[in-house]
Amino acid sequence: MGINLETPKKFGVLINQAHQVSTEIFRPISRKYDKAEHEYPKELDMLASLIDGMNASGGETSTGARGVRRKDSDKTNVNGGNMSGVLSIIEACWGDVAMVLSMPRQGLGNAAIASVANDEQLARFDHTWAAMAITEPGFGSDSAAVTATAVLDGDHYVINGEKIFVTAGGRCDSVVVWASVDRSKGRAAIKSFVVEKGTPGMVVERLEHKLGIRASDTATIRFTDCRVPKDNLLGSPEVEVEQGFAGVMQTFDNTRPLVAGMAVGCARAALDEIEDLLKQAGVTVDYDRPAHTQHAAAAAYLQMEADWEAGYLLTLEATWMADNNKPNSLQASMAKAKAARVGVDITLRCVELAGALGYSEDSLLEKWARDSKILDIFEGTQQIQQLIVARRLLNKSSTDLK
């Protein structure tokens, strides 16, 4: 067919729906819930039902957390759930990143389940709202340092440990927890478990006060002798030392493009806003004239938009590879590294260009500049993405290139 970097027509309806939701639902309540941190945006419940309906009728297309499962296909070129998922995430985050993170049944835990669950688990957890619990007080980026334990006892695993920075941890129905089944066996022994809310021994201890994404709750959850059915272990229960971390890390190949998409959507919001404000100030952008003969603000816009385009296309590339069953760890990390860092740069620069209008709470620019920062941190910081890219390119192990 030939090289084409436009998205297919069949996703148009989905993209438009997500855009309508952003405009009509997210934006009008964005500021309200940014101020009312920890208050659940009740408007999202109705929306969640709508999205469930969209997913049920969506066929190959899907919204965010649904669209990360790889399907075998004999088609030569597939534009499937990974791509449509990220496209709808982009549009929704153009509305509000924190709302997207708070969408019932669209959590990162759902993405993990969709990525590694077997068919039985997939059916069983189909309607759960799953948060993701990896980080502990003692580690962040070093995911292999998990100290939470899961000990098999009859038909149950007994989980102990403390998890922090659990997005939607307060509101979700269940949590996908990373815990070690044998701490002497290192990272290969780290497995993920679905723990449903209400399971005795699981307590949400507190919610964080944050720089941004304040409409999204970020929880600390403690597990004390928490008994979980052994069928809730996602993936293989065997500790395969040679396979190492691959099982649980595979989740990231699917979630990182989604986070990259969040940054793309948030940055686009800021770009659209600043374009309007610049126009009011008499500055327009000319794509044909050299940047250095235009207004400095127009030149800044061109530079931001170029960076945005790179982040957007890297994100699409990563999802396209996933849709076509091509290994995409490298591209997923490249997408997240680029999209997230330009997301921060763009939103901050737009505040600067807008001046007091951007810095004050009158517009949402200052909010987007706070929201965007988390996207360069969670699901692997900028530095972790660069490490992954570098190790791949240089063919280095984590012991060589630390």
């Binding site: 030939g2 090289i3 436009e6 998205t7 993209i15 982009i90 794509y287 938009e305 385009e309 296309l313």
Partner: protein, 440 residues
């Protein structure tokens, strides 16, 4: 999302249409069969050298047949796809091989002598057919359909060998593409046969002028209408193979609007001065001076809109060249930082080094995808002004950053001519400076 976020975008994309691709095997065969034919060797540019334009052939005016031939546009594609077609894979494979085996080994010498070997230029025509790829079959070219992505992939693969040599090879193709896209039937019949034959003339599409803040849409070179034609006055800069070029396409302002003119190098009032630059030295860059150059009415090539398209297509081509050279940097530094030892281990074990390599790869891929999107939109007949501008911005800024990182990673060794990275550093600066010359 094509740029600004607008509502009601469900009409995005274009309908699936059958693609009318040219028969790839036939095209390749055609290339292989082409025999190299001897051609006069051209004088390399030497500092201070100034002469009248080269004049080794006359282009006999040919009457048109009433209708210009235009390459077909590719049909609209629906699915996102980064896989080149089989035909493109073959062409790119052959070009990469040519680049690795014939360009890279002579690149350092070509840089020193400010000249691409004539033999190599000939082989780029006989083995790769660089000037006939976009020319319709009815005019002796390779196919009825022009593919901007194929041209971009070829430019990229050539620049992986050497950007200066790539520019020297592609300069005549820039002219033949311009004639194909915007020439009328008489212009095509007069000039195109030379470009599809064995003896392809040196030729160049000249836009750049020597002044700060140059803007391709605010030209100092003027064209004035006379009863019988136009008079051109002005100076064009960084024109590849200027001293040996037999045909120029020159951009000049006509009634304030930038327009292209076909100018034969033997025309009175044309002189050429060598203009060696920081990089692209293998392209033998020169200054083209036009002093009361009289050309006939038939010299005007296309209109102002065509000129705008020309500028955009050339920016995509320069972006593709930057991607090729950027990839060369990446491919070169990876083994170097893995082998180079410091403090008892390879320097690639240090994040400060490893992250530079990672960033080269990340920015290169981002620029490359943006360039491909621009080329693909152009070839499908979609608007692409925005995408071309963004591709130019990324490949200029990050291309230069990549060139600089390449030298930095090799340290003192990067600064000396024993390694090619210093040449790539110099070449990559051209991407933000150049306009015209190459087209996708």
């Amino acid at each position: 999302m094509s740029g600004r976020n607008k509502r009601g975008r469900d009409a995005m994309g274009v309908g699936l249409a059958a693609l009318n691709r040219l028969a790839s095997a036939g095209a390749i065969d055609k290339l292989r069969l082409r025999k190299p034919v001897e051609r006069a060797v051209y004088e390399g540019a030497k500092a201070g050298f100034r002469s009248v334009g080269a004049a080794n052939r006359t282009f006999a005016k040919v009457q048109g047949r009433g209708k210009a031939e235009r390459p077909g546009k590719a049909g609209g594609r629906d699915l996102f796809d980064l896989t080149p077609t089989e035909e493109q894979q073959m062409i790119v494979g052959a070009t990469r091989e040519f680049s690795a085996e014939q360009i890279r080994p002579v690149a350092a010498d070509a840089n020193e002598s400010c000249e691409t070997p004539a033999e190599l230029l000939k082989r780029s025509v006989s083995e790769l057919g660089v000037t006939i790829v976009g020319v319709p079959e009815s005019l002796g070219g390779m196919g009825s359909e022009r593919s901007a992505t194929t041209s971009a992939l070829v430019a990229e693969a050539l620049a992986h060998g050497d950007m200066g040599i790539a520019v020297a090879c592609l300069a005549p193709a820039g002219v033949s593409s311009a004639l194909t896209l915007w020439g009328d039937d008489a212009q095509q019949a007069t000039y195109l046969p030379s470009f599809v034959g064995d003896d392809v003339p040196a030729a160049a599409l000249a836009i750049v002028e020597p002044r700060p803040l140059f803007d391709a849409f605010q030209l100092k070179t003027k064209a004035s209408r006379t009863p019988s034609g136009y008079v051109l006055d002005g100076v064009k800069s960084l024109v590849p193979r200027a001293a040996s070029a037999e045909l120029f396409i020159v951009a000049a302002a006509l009634d304030g609007k930038a327009t292209l003119f076909i100018v034969e190098s033997s025309t009175k009032g044309i002189s050429v001065e060598s203009e060696p630059a920081m990089g692209l030295r293998a392209a033998s860059t020169g200054r083209l001076i036009l002093e009361s150059v009289t050309v006939p009415l038939s010299a005007k090539l296309g209109d102002a809109d065509d000129y705008t398209e020309c500028v955009r297509l050339s920016r995509i081509a320069w972006s593709a060249l930057a991607c090729g050279t950027g990839q060369a940097v990446l491919d070169y530094v990876i083994p170097y930082v893995n082998e180079r030892q410091a403090f008892g281990e390879p320097i690639s074990h240090r994040q400060a080094v490893a992250f530079m390599v990672a960033n080269i790869a990340i920015e290169l891929e981002g620029a490359r995808l943006t360039m491909l999107r621009a080329a693909s939109r152009a070839e499908q007949g979609q608007p692409y002004a925005r995408e071309a501008a963004l591709a130019r911005k990324l490949s200029s800024d990050y291309g230069m950053q990549i060139g600089s990182s390449g030298v930095q990673l090799l340290g003192g060794h990067g600064y000396v001519k024993e390694h090619p990275v210093e040449r790539w550093y110099r070449d990559l600066r051209a991407v933000g400076v150049m306009e015209g010359v190459v087209l996708v």
